[in-house]
Amino acid sequence: MLKCREVVHQADALLAGELSGRERFALRMHIIICRHCRRYVKQFRHLLRAIPRMHGQASESEVSRVMTAVKNADKSMGGQSNPSG
């Protein structure tokens, strides 16, 4: 039987779809009977969704500093090689 501590260690791999069928089954069985781990995995998933937004937006002065630097660079540099996208 999986321990709660192991559930916490495997939650990353579970959410990334990296567990084998056997591991996933063992984890699911644990989660069915353990409400603490059920809550952990659910809230951990929500947390991962929140991380890309955690830094918030730049202030207007930060934006205008970047815009000024970009404009100045445009004026001073000619066409140089671009990173591919």
Partner: protein, 201 residues
């Protein structure tokens, strides 16, 4: 939902539209600064990101949308960060630290919870990490986090880069990368859990 500009804006960005570019900077600048800070340190991060924006601005007409804009911008930041490190003859060191697991004190010896997570009141992306009261706790936690952990969090979770790419760029093994990311995430989990329980850091 991530702080991404809407697809229509990509057309405007390719055309070189200033207000679309400002919106792009507004949405991603702070996150890119955090990424650069994790790699080159806080003193050089601003310069790295400034240079990255200049490169991004020039490259946008050729942006093909194969990856999310945030991920594309994060790659440019990594390139600039590596250039700066090369110039100053420093190296990226993403070695595994020997820190204790952030949630180690939450388990009994047998491996069961001694202090299980509380029920979080607000689970929305904006509700969890973007509350004003939490902002200070969050930035303190990120500053105190070992740089390798923070770099993994910024690159993988905030920047959206794949493990393989991070491992190649920063010369780190896949298993170390996973351990570092797990530690960083569980530190964040602990912070949010404590905040949801007590309303304090």
């Amino acid at each position: 939902m991530r702080a991404e500009v809407v697809p229509d804006d990509i057309q405007a960005l390719r055309r070189g539209d200033d207000s679309a570019f400002s919106a792009l900077v507004r949405a991603h600048h702070r996150a890119l600064l955090a990424t650069a800070t994790a790699i080159v340190g806080i003193d050089d991060a601003e310069e790295v990101v400034q240079n990255a924006w200049i490169k991004a601005h020039k490259a946008l007409p050729g942006f093909e949308g194969r990856s999310a804009l945030r991920t594309w911008l994060t790659r440019i930041v990594i390139n600039e960060a590596r250039m700066l490190l090369r110039k100053s003859r420093r190296e990226v060191s993403l070695q595994l630290d020997e820190d204790q697991h952030p949630l180690a004190d939450r388990f009994r010896e047998g491996g069961h919870w001694s202090k299980p997570p509380v029920t979080w009141h607000d689970e929305s992306p904006d509700g969890l990490l973007m509350q004003r009261e939490l902002a200070d706790c969050l930035s303190r936690l990120l500053l105190a986090m070992p740089a390798p952990q923070r770099a993994m969090l910024e690159l993988r979770d905030a920047g959206g880069l794949e493990f393989d790419e991070i491992c190649n760029e920063l010369t780190i093994t896949a298993s170390n990368a996973r351990v570092l990311l797990h530690r960083a995430r569980t530190q964040l989990f602990k912070l949010v859990d404590h905040y949801q329980e007590t309303g304090e850091c």
